[in-house]
């Protein structure tokens, strides 16, 4: 590895390569429950050319490469399971272009959600992008690479990967490719009408290449926002509530929360409905239409809209939702992982029921919820487990709960999202053999030496 380290230093500069024990320790783990593995080196490239050179070197030497954005995936996807190089993209943090009229931004592969948000607020206050409920250091590219979702996923077209207008990626053999309109003309405005090759890098968890630039859709930013909180006594009506409210097309974001904490919320699932508008009149109209869509429910007095005083609204408004992160440390032990399941909205009651059973069985604290994707086309249901790293028994029980939740998700007809390596194997066991063969052929073609994030999406 000595010689490789020297070559890496020659490519990116000495400051941006490390094999020190403390760096290796940090990059060997995330906040979740997956087994840590040390990398052999951590490299921070500053340009596409540097990424290409690193990848060529790694490919030549058959050294694994694990691309990493914010390192917040929680399910171990950036843990170097077979050692090698962790390619930390944070230096590639330039915002290359914002096209105000066509509403897209082109950013480098290490640009974080927070940086783009701040940039748009300052320079393009009429525009915004869809933000995941993750800390602001989560990256745009990392998030689309795992099919992330966010606060505009309900209203503006679904998963963040569906908001990608173009990609520049470095293949496992070192070539840089552009996909989408940017491959043919100067603009990064669309993936259509060309053959859609961006899918080779979306949802693959970094096993097919490195995203070095990305075009992402921006959306109008209305001047006002408000929150409606619909409280029920049962999860059973949530799918129909979601169906009705998404049918109005008046809500910007919808998140269901089924939480054991705080105590007053236990047993009372709520639906957080964000509404945006440019005027009081528009807001009143939208809120009125949403209320009307569920009138027959609240007239029974078995569920209804909860008044939210102004001083409480900030808890529910804003992206990312800050209060969600409070649950992440509810056990005060610095441990947090969740199973995010992409599943049909009608599966929500079953997912809740399974989640409660699993939490009770393994005596773990579980908060559940769901972000509505598209107009209720599906949801990202989450079973979030906070645990105390200082409590080995608590960690072990949480790990068992996670594994069981993955299996329960598949049994229910959903698919675990950004699943950890064992969860990926659960998925692959259910997958059509033809699909697996195709995935394997694509990977063999793109990555003949199997250097990209090995241990992930490996069909056995």
């Amino acid at each position: 590895m000595e010689g490789i380290l020297k070559e890496l230093e020659d490519i990116v500069g000495r400051r941006y390569v490390s094999a020190s024990p403390e760096e290796k320790y940090i990059y060997s783990r995330d906040q979740g429950l997956q087994e840590p593995h040390d990398p052999d080196a951590v490299v921070l490239p500053g340009s596409t050319e540097e990424v290409q050179a690193v990848i060529r070197l790694a490919n030549r030497e058959r050294v694994p490469v694990v691309p990493m954005g914010g390192g917040l995936v929680l399910s171990g996807l950036t843990i170097p399971q077979k050692g090698g190089i962790v390619l930390d993209m944070k230096r590639m943090n330039r915002i290359i272009e914002v096209n105000e009229t066509s509403r897209y931004a082109v950013v480098e592969g290490g640009v974080s959600q927070g940086v783009l948000k701040a940039y748009l607020e300052r320079r393009h206050p009429g525009l915004k992008h869809s933000l995941p409920d993750a800390p602001p250091v989560a990256t745009i590219a990392g998030n689309v690479a795992i099919h992330g979702s966010g606060h505009l996923s309900q209203s503006e077209g679904g998963f963040h990967s569906e908001m990608v207008t173009g990609l520049e990626a470095v293949l496992p053999t070192g070539e840089a490719v552009r996909l989408g309109s940017c491959s043919t003309v100067p603009g990064w405005f669309s993936r259509a009408p060309l053959p859609d090759l961006a899918g080779l890098f979306l949802g693959w968890n970094g096993t097919t290449g490195i995203i070095t630039k990305i075009g992402i859709k921006l959306f109008p930013k209305p001047k006002m926002e408000d929150i409606l909180v619909y409280m029920t006594g049962s999860v059973d009506i949530l799918p129909d509530l979601i169906y009705r409210i998404t049918g109005t097309e008046m809500a910007e974001d919808m998140v269901a929360a089924i939480s054991p904490k705080p105590d007053w919320l236990r047993g009372f699932p709520i639906l957080l409905i964000t509404v945006t508008a440019n005027s009081e009149e528009e807001m009143a109209m939208k809120v009125g239409i949403i209320r009307e869509s569920v009138r027959h429910y609240y007239q029974t007095m078995e569920s209804g809209f909860m008044p939210v005083p102004p001083y409480m609204k900030s808890q529910f408004l804003g992206a990312p939702l800050k209060d969600l992160s409070k649950f992440a440390d509810v056990m005060k032990g610095g441990g947090f992982e969740y199973v995010g399941s992409i599943m049909p909205v009608e599966k929500l009651p079953g997912a809740c029921s399974a989640g409660l059973d699993i939490a009770e069985k393994h005596r773990v604290t579980c908060s559940m919820g769901a972000r509505v994707i598209g107009r209720g086309h599906c949801m990202m249901f989450f079973n979030a487990y906070a645990f105390n790293r200082a409590d080995e028994d608590n960690m072990a029980r949480s790990a068992l709960a996670l594994e069981e939740t993955n299996r329960a998700t598949l049994e229910l007809g959903g698919i675990p999202w950004k699943a950890e390596a064992p969860g990926q194997q659960d998925i692959l066991r259910k997958m059509e053999p033809g699909t697996i063969q195709l995935m394997n052929r694509i990977r063999s073609l793109l990555d003949p030496n199997g250097i990209m994030n090995p241990g992930n999406w490996e069909a056995r």
Binding site: R266, M306, P307
Partner: protein, 339 residues
């Protein structure tokens, strides 16, 4: 369990049925009103139980002090006729539950009870409140809000312990045993609801306005008349304690404020609409809010004065949009003292 001191014979003999005839939300003729009143006094179902928006006003309208509103709420609960969605009521019952963490602590007097509104502490300052101690928290929350949720039982269950806690934790050293109630709701609990149900209150509640009036008299030389025309937003709980109403005029007079002649003030005060939103009566809530704001504008008020924090939060944004400054009564008094 405490029982409401309600006399059916008074309703049977009532000629005017003011409780229903004066109701701003139920359109009813005298004969019909009498029938419904008798149903209620007999403990039977009545359309009134479903139409009631829990504005408290009939407590004030009843010429006999026979507690028609408390009776309505008791019946709503007995018959499970919910004015607000069940999950909202149940979650509020939990959210506002006593925490059992209250303990004795040294306090100076007078003692100001902020109930469940610690966010109002900022108003307890300056020469108006020099030397006072503030108490607040769920262990001393009066719980009267559950009248809006048909949950008298919650008040009955919690209030005896709450009054006992206030007395034993804060008042043992105090000969006057006075507690200044910031919110009309607390004062109404201790001086109207508690006696109606025979709950002992082992201290002397003092309404905030009475205290403010006395302090302003004491500080009279410091007052600079504000020369403002203000709209007073009378809260629902003021209906329980109409004997305190004159203090609003007395305070305004002392600080040089003109109480605008609103259509919706005093006996005709109109609910801020906040509770109606919890009851899912959105159109009515919006209508009340529009009426209140239009009324404030029409009478030339530059400021809207509140004492109830819930009314304040419900209407503050709408008043500001119309160029009317929302202000709490205590802050209006601070303004007059130049503080």
């Amino acid at each position: 369990m405490e029982i409401l001191n309600f006399k059916p014979e008074l309703c049977a003999a009532c000629a005017t049925v003011d409780c229903l005839m004066k109701c701003q939300y139920i359109d009813i003729d005298l004969e019909h009103a009498r029938e419904e009143s008798l149903r209620i006094s007999r403990g039977e179902d009545s359309e009134v139980l479903r139409k009631c928006v829990t504005c408290y006003a009939c407590e004030e309208y009843c010429p006999f002090g026979n507690h028609p509103f408390y009776r309505i709420v008791d019946l709503q609960e007995q018959l499970d006729l919910l004015p607000a969605p069940r999950p909202l009521a149940e979650s509020q019952v939990r959210m506002m539950a006593p925490r059992g963490t209250i303990s004795k602590k040294p306090v100076s007097f007078p003692l100001v009870d902020l109930c469940a509104f610690p966010m109002l502490k900022g108003g307890i300052r300056g020469s108006l409140f020099s030397g006072v101690s503030v108490i607040d928290g769920m262990d001393i929350f009066c719980n009267l809000m559950f009248l809006h949720f048909a949950r008298s039982s919650v008040i009955r269950e919690r209030l005896p312990q709450i009054t006992k806690s206030i007395s034993s934790c804060y008042l043992e050293e105090d000969a006057t045993r006075e507690v200044i109630c910031y919110h009309d709701e607390c004062y109404g609990t201790y001086t109207s609801w508690a006696p109606a149900y025979g709950v002992d209150v082992p201290f002397r509640p003092v309404h905030l306005f009475q205290y403010l009036h006395e302090r302003l008299l004491h500080l009279k030389d410091k007052i600079k008349p504000l020369n403002l025309t203000v709209a007073y937003q009378r809260p629902c709980s003021a209906r329980l304690i109409p004997e305190m109403e004159h203090y609003v005029d007395d305070i305004f007079s002392l600080i040089g404020v003109k109480r605008a002649e609103r259509r919706y003030d005093r006996g005709s005060a109109l609910c801020c609409g906040g509770v109606m939103e919890a009851q899912q009566r959105f159109e009515l809530a919006a209508e009340n809010q529009e009426k209140n704001i239009a009324d404030m504008k029409q009478c030339g008020a530059t400021h809207a004065v509140f004492n109830c924090p819930f009314c304040f939060y419900t209407l503050m944004g709408k008043t500001m949009k119309e160029g009317i400054t929302p202000v709490l009564m205590v802050d209006l008094c601070h303004m007059a003292l130049g503080e």
